[in-house]
């Protein structure tokens, strides 16, 4: 912990955590003015992990660009791949085969389950709840195994291609999905008993870090954190893409079960519920994979996109992820712009941290599921 502070006057002190600190969910700096141990004002400085990704995409050819796209959100890489593919397919007017769409959907829902499990593990670690985090990490490995079986990699799969996916469904994949979803349903009940019904865990999160729907809306919050505050916005429902319109699922909202709507506990509960919904979608989707091609066209290394532009939205595990692709028909993109959910979501954090004790801020930060790599890009 790089932990510096100076005394301002009698009881107000200026504290600073980071850039590298295990109590933060990534590499950034958090400065706070604290009165006693209550945070009165918080400031955040990000950008340490800036990697120049958007410029790097402009310099890459269309064929190799997926490598950089994978690194937009390294924790859930398939969503950025999907947004990029949808945008390119719109410009080139490629019809994605139905089979490829369902395969994409299966992998994305799997990615959502994995990312939410990762979130729960991080939240458990932030509350010092090692045992729960170990159980969750055990189940996250099951999801990563499925990824490996299908795409060949655990992270950065580089699997979605323009007009489809890189490979057909692996033998035994569907049986494994059924097996895993059944197991995870049981495990979710276990987490429910371990976390949601645990009074010590509730005390750490309920009534803490309350985010009202108005604040969430005025700061442009999206994703599960916004839904926990009661904002009902889910791209999968509102503008169905990649065949989500064929599946019936519920969008869980924060109810304030143990505290008030939009508190830290709601943000945990909403994500647990979302895992359950994703598992339902998964078990329906693997049973309804249509026959046909998995790839509409093979991308040659000198693939070019005709002049034009497109804008695509997907619902990533953290919120609205959108991609604006502009091409002038050349060998490189003119611009690939990303709207990443975390960079908007982090705007509410200084608001929410007001009035939180110093001991509590890691828990509240963890409850927002921020990906710093996604903010800095």
């Amino acid at each position: 912990m790089i932990y510096t502070r100076e005394k301002l006057h009698a009881s107000v002190s200026s504290l600073s955590w980071g850039p590298s600190d295990p109590s933060l969910p990534g590499i950034f700096r958090l400065e706070a003015d604290a009165e006693g141990d209550l945070i009165r004002r918080a400031r955040i400085e990000t950008g340490f992990l800036h990697k120049g990704l958007e410029k790097s995409l402009e310099k890459r050819s269309w064929f190799t660009s997926m490598i950089a796209v994978d690194r937009v959100d390294p924790e859930a890489p398939l969503f950025a791949e999907l947004a990029f593919c949808i945008a390119i397919e719109e410009i080139c007017n490629i019809q994605v085969p139905r089979r490829a769409q369902v395969i994409r959907l299966i992998l994305c829902e799997l990615g959502r389950v994995g990312s939410h499990l990762h979130f729960l593990a991080r939240a458990a670690i932030a509350t010092g709840f090692d045992t729960a985090s170990q159980y969750i990490l055990r189940d996250r490995e099951l999801v990563l195994d499925l990824f490996e079986l299908m795409t060949g990699r655990r992270f950065s799969p580089n699997f979605f291609k323009f007009g489809g996916v890189g490979a057909d469904i692996t033998e035994g994949f569907i049986e494994r999905i059924h097996e895993t979803t059944r197991l995870l349903e049981i495990r979710l009940r276990e987490y429910h008993a371990l976390m949601i019904e645990n009074q010590a865990f509730i005390d750490r999160l309920a009534w803490q870090g309350v985010l009202s729907a108005e604040t969430a809306q005025s700061k442009g919050l999206t994703g599960p954190s916004a839904r926990a505050s009661g904002l009902r916005f889910d791209v999968r429902k509102d503008e169905a893409y990649s065949g989500y319109e064929h599946f019936d699922f519920r969008v869980p909202l924060g109810t304030g079960a143990r505290g008030t709507t939009g508190d830290g506990f709601d943000r945990i509960v909403v994500r647990l519920e979302e895992i359950r919904e994703s598992l339902l979608i998964l078990s329906h989707a693997v049973d309804s994979v249509p026959a046909g091609d998995f790839l509409a066209l093979t991308t040659p290394p000198d693939f070019t996109v005709p002049a034009g532009e497109a804008y695509s939205r997907v619902e990533s595990p953290r919120g609205l992820l959108s991609c604006h692709v502009v091409s002038d028909g050349g060998a490189h993109p003119v611009r690939v712009q990303w709207r990443t959910p975390s960079s908007s979501n982090i705007e509410v954090v200084p608001e929410v941290l007001k009035g939180i004790t110093i001991q509590d801020f890691p828990v509240i930060l963890a409850s927002f599921d921020l990906s710093i790599a996604e903010i800095d890009r």
Binding site: G47, L49, S56, Q134, L137, R154, A373
Partner: protein, 155 residues
């Protein structure tokens, strides 16, 4: 007799060091996920006596798995300076090994090899490397510490 004893003591210290490498991680990006996997119960780094530490003052091993840009180099150096010696460094992933997908040819942030900032003991390639690779790197580091302890105290 004295040299024999000091050699034995040196060996003991090296053995103790190698079987209790407490680590502090600086991660960002895909390797952060794999580092969490390694901590998790399937791979379980605690088998090797490795425990994650919240403060660099208490760590023996620094695991760096970010792109080493100008800004990150400062952060890494700061953490490295605060670790007490003897300290060891593990560069995990292509970014910290060689600049990876963000080196000076691809991106203007000019990610450098970690070696140019602090001395590195073990390099683990991959983007991101598998947990097994990280564990293998750890075993290599353990062997290296034990060999070094045996050689330094030889008469």
């Amino acid at each position: 007799m004295r040299t024999f004893l000091s050699a034995k003591l040196g060996n003991l210290a090296a053995w103790a060091q190698s079987s209790s490498l407490w680590y502090y991680t600086i991660t960002g990006g895909c390797c952060a996920d794999e580092m969490l996997s390694v901590q998790g119960c399937r791979y379980d780094l605690e088998r090797f006596g490795c425990l994650p530490q919240a403060h660099p003052e208490q760590a023996d091993l620094l695991i760096v798995s970010t792109a080493v840009t100008e800004q990150m180099a400062k952060v890494i150096l700061d953490v490295y300076d605060r670790m007490p010696s003897p300290k060891y460094v593990m560069a995990v992933g292509a970014c910290s090994n060689s600049g990876g997908a963000f080196n000076e040819r691809v991106s203007y942030v000019k990610s450098r090899p970690l070696e140019q900032v602090i001395p590195v003991d073990v390099f683990i390639p991959g983007c991101p490397p598998r947990p097994e690779a990280i564990m293998n790197g750890l075993i290599l580091l353990q062997n290296k510490i034990q060999e070094r302890g045996a050689n330094e105290n030889a008469p």
